[in-house]
């Protein structure tokens, strides 16, 4: 690839108290890629995603996003970079007590002025964009519903609609379907894939199931004990590689 990477990790290590979550990781992710992070619990998938969206700064090494070294940025500049990254979480991370429209409009918050945002809480603004986003994720009728009255699958759709409104260059997803049943999981993954393919966005998602990873992504990164065990296209991921991935050290 000729273009330069959206995300780049240079010799990154991340330490939590006594626990080494990531150990000297190097990784480059290019525009338009759909990358799955797989590995067992505690392998460092979520830590890696937090490093990529700038909510965590590495204890060692450098994280470069869109050509910027995140550790070197002021908080204002960091926010500018973060606006170009949308994140979807396993447990949705929505504000339960707000109506769906406000949670979807929260995607605008990186751009909106304080007064515009405050006014919108009383009299929802940009309803058209929000309605279109909800239509896109398949729950147009929930525009004015309260978020905590939605089912898990619907809440994840609201979270995706929020990212749609945010319109970032890259989408990170942390176990986006682990709280959902298999049918819903498939629907949500289909939706995610269509969305990134249409607009040429980059997707990095951690997934519990290797099968989902093989079906929906074009590159699979296997993590074990904070290190990258393999990094290859789905077709060349063999059963032995998967076994090695989930086989813990004794």
């Amino acid at each position: 690839m000729t273009s330069f990477p959206v995300f780049e990790l240079r010799q990154v290590s991340q330490q939590f108290d006594r626990f080494l979550s990531l150990d000297d990781v190097n990784l480059q992710i290019y525009p338009g890629e759909r990358v799955a992070l797989v590995g067992s619990s505690g392998a460092g998938k979520s830590t890696l995603l937090r490093l990529l969206n700038g909510t965590l700064l590495p204890t060692q090494g450098e994280v470069w996003v869109l050509g910027q070294n995140l550790s070197r940025l002021s908080s204002r500049k960091l926010r500018c970079v973060q606006r170009q990254i949308g994140t979807i979480y396993q447990q949705f991370h929505l504000v339960d007590s707000l109506r769906v429209i406000h949670n979807v409009n929260a995607g605008h918050l990186g751009r909106w002025s304080f007064w515009r945002a405050a006014l919108s809480l009383v009299y929802p603004l940009d309803v058209k964009t929000a309605a279109a986003a909800l239509h896109r994720v398949g729950i147009p009728e929930k525009l004015y519903a309260r978020t905590d009255q939605l089912s898990g699958g619907q809440q994840q759709r609201v979270a995706i609609a929020r990212v749609l409104v945010q319109d970032p260059l890259a989408i990170l997803a942390d176990e986006p379907v682990s709280s959902l049943d298999p049918t819903l999981s498939k629907e949500v993954m289909d939706l995610l894939r269509t969305l990134v393919q249409e607009s040429g966005k980059t997707l990095v998602t951690s997934l519990h199931s290797v099968e989902l990873a093989q079906n929906y992504c074009d590159r699979i990164v296997g993590l074990r004990d904070g290190k990258i065990l393999f990094d290859s296209p789905p077709a060349s991921v063999s059963a032995e590689m998967i076994d090695a991935l989930y086989h813990l050290k004794d």
Partner: protein
């Protein structure tokens, strides 16, 4: 998506209640005469300055320190004894007023409903009457005896504890209890093996909170002559010895601060961080259950936990481990309580035999006789209506002051807000910024502690330095006192906030002010309002205690009638007050329901 959805009307129930609130506050301000007549007494400013000046030079002579220490121990002892008795009463009352108990005793619907509804109604009356009124009443019976303070705390608190305990028991999952009952176990044994252990932490957590309140009540009861810090404070204030007054104040701050801090630490260690989850409890529980279900199906990975709530997840994990291995701090507190309780009962040496002595029975009979028939003359009724209106406006003003102040101060007082790594702060921050944040935190916490530690009647007397008598000084005094309590409760709400949605907002580059607007405020505001409304009910009852020092309202009339032994009028005024209390409780509970 052919036709757009209709925007829901802004004219909903919340909006309606919101306007009711605004109108009520406006009317109360009008009633207090804030913009109509002179309410500020400039002549008192010098006195007020003297009062505050004395704060930096308290009386530290050995004799006075000794007296202060003694008074502090008495106040503590009243609180401990009062809390113990109220918990005993509350435990029995709580079981007897819980729906679940009667359901297990009489499994048939028709029999049980009237029983627990009656018990509940009966308990509502002692609850409606403030400790101070109970105190004045028992003062007439027992004379100046420590028993007055203890019983005056035990009775209303017992009724409050009953109500809360019964709610906790009713909201505890019942399947284990039903399983035991269905296999033929007797109700009490079945409860002891299922319901009680399940609810234990919640009950304990609430008991700690009651003890915190009890310390404040014990100080107030001192004012009517029961002794302790409140009594000494009143003496010093009346003889204008401000240096002594401040020594006593500092003792009160230390006492309150220690109790509040210990209670917070213990609750945290026991793993029940929120002290009372007013009316949102049910919703939360079901939420949690829902989440648990999700987790059972698809256990989230460990690092997933770390992602959504960083250190909070760690806390949960470590807390669980500590409980298994027996936390030394909790053990220490348990041993401390075992030693403290007998000591306190010994120290106050109240004459409990007075409770059933023939003289008491005789006096009670006399009072009952003299209070009948109630004195319903027309003049008194019209006076009472006017005073009820005054009382109501005082409570509304007070809660407006306390609510607004509490919300504003609760944020700087929460340790996860402005501090580095907090909700609003970026990851890095300069040393000076950190110092400023810590300074602000300590300053607001100290302010909240001072306002809640000083009893409301004392605030009223201080307010009377510069204000003309009326409902305004009473409202300000109650407002200040409740501000301290509310500010702390609200800071705890912010500290226990579910951070996941905030992390999501921050991750997409939202500036701090908007994280606050879209993440913090919507989540905390409903709780804040619930606390405010709940505290309004308390404020209504507390109007009595500022009435004592002349702040007006029904409280003043009632204390006058009580001290002149005019029981036939007392019973009328008291009934009027109870009705007013019930009205306020009803409105408050309706408003809280519309918040859900």
């Amino acid at each position: 998506m052919n036709q757009p959805l209709l925007r829901p009307s802004l004219l909903n129930q919340r909006f309606l209640w919101g306007s009711v609130m605004v109108v009520a506050v406006a009317l109360s301000i009008y009633q207090a005469g804030l913009f109509q007549r002179d309410w500020l007494n400039w002549g008192g400013l010098a006195q007020l300055r003297q009062f505050f000046q004395a704060s930096i030079q308290p009386d530290l002579s050995p004799e006075f320190l000794h007296l202060t220490f003694d008074a502090a121990v008495i106040t503590l002892a009243y609180a401990v004894c009062g809390t113990c008795l109220s918990l005993l009463l509350g435990l029995v009352g709580g079981v007897l007023t819980s729906e679940v108990w009667w359901q297990s005793v009489f499994p048939r619907q028709a029999q049980q409903r009237p029983i627990w509804l009656t018990v509940r109604a009966v308990l509502a009356i002692p609850r409606a009457i403030h400790e101070l009124i109970w105190g004045l009443f028992f003062l007439n019976i027992f004379g100046l005896d420590p028993l007055v303070a203890i019983v005056a705390i035990a009775i209303p608190y017992g009724a409050i504890v009953s109500k809360v305990f019964s709610e906790i028991l009713d909201e505890t999952p019942r399947q284990p209890l039903m399983a035991l009952l269905n296999s033929g176990v007797a109700p009490l044994s079945a409860c002891s093996y299922s319901l009680f252990p399940q609810a234990f932490l919640d009950l304990l957590s609430y008991s700690f909170y009651r003890f915190e309140c009890s310390i404040r009540s014990a100080a107030v009861l001192g004012i009517i002559g029961a002794g302790g810090l409140g009594y000494q404070i009143l003496l010093s204030l009346q003889s204008l010895r401000y240096e002594q007054l401040w020594t006593l104040f500092y003792a009160l701050f230390v006492l309150n601060g220690t109790v509040d801090f210990t209670s917070a630490v213990l609750r945290h260690r026991l793993g029940s961080p929120s002290r009372l989850d007013l009316n949102l409890r049910r919703a939360n529980r079901s939420d949690n259950r829902g989440l648990d279900k999700l987790r059972d199906g698809h256990p989230p990975p460990l690092d997933g936990y770390l992602t959504h709530s960083g250190n909070a997840a760690y806390l949960i994990l470590t807390r669980g481990q500590q409980r298994q291995s027996g936390d030394p701090w909790v053990m220490l507190a348990g041993v401390g309580a075992l030693l403290l309780i007998p000591f306190c009962f010994w120290y106050v040496s109240a004459d409990f035999s007075k409770l059933w002595s023939p003289r008491t029975v005789q006096l009670l009979a006399d009072i009952t006789q003299s209070s009948l028939p109630p004195n319903f003359d027309r003049e008194q009724i019209s006076q009472m209506l006017a005073l009820s209106w005054q009382t109501l406006t005082m409570s509304v003003l007070a809660i407006a002051i306390a609510g607004i102040g509490g919300i504003l101060l609760s944020f700087p007082a929460a340790h996860n807000f402005f501090l580095p790594g907090g909700l609003l702060n970026p990851v890095q921050s300069s040393p000076s910024g950190r110092l400023l944040a810590w300074g602000m935190l300590l300053l607001t916490r100290a302010f909240l502690l001072i306002t809640r530690a000083v009893p409301a009647p004392i605030w009223a007397l201080v307010a009377l330095f510069v204000l003309f008598p009326g409902i305004l000084p009473g409202a300000i005094a109650l407002g200040l006192h409740n501000l301290g309590i509310l500010g702390r409760l609200m800071a705890e709400v912010t500290e226990n906030l579910d951070q996941r949605s905030l992390i999501a907002l921050k991750a997409q580059g939202t500036p701090a002010s908007l994280v606050f607007l879209y993440g913090v405020l919507p989540t905390t505001m409903t709780r804040f309002l619930a606390y405010i409304l709940y505290r309004w009910e308390v404020c209504m009852r507390e109007t009595i205690i500022v009435g004592l020092v002349g702040a007006g309202g029904l409280g003043r009339l009632l204390t006058e009638q009580l001290s002149s032994f005019d029981y036939s009028s007392v019973i009328v005024t008291l009934s009027g007050f109870i009705v007013l209390t019930f009205v306020v409780d009803w409105v408050s509970s309706r408003m809280r329901r519309s918040l859900r």
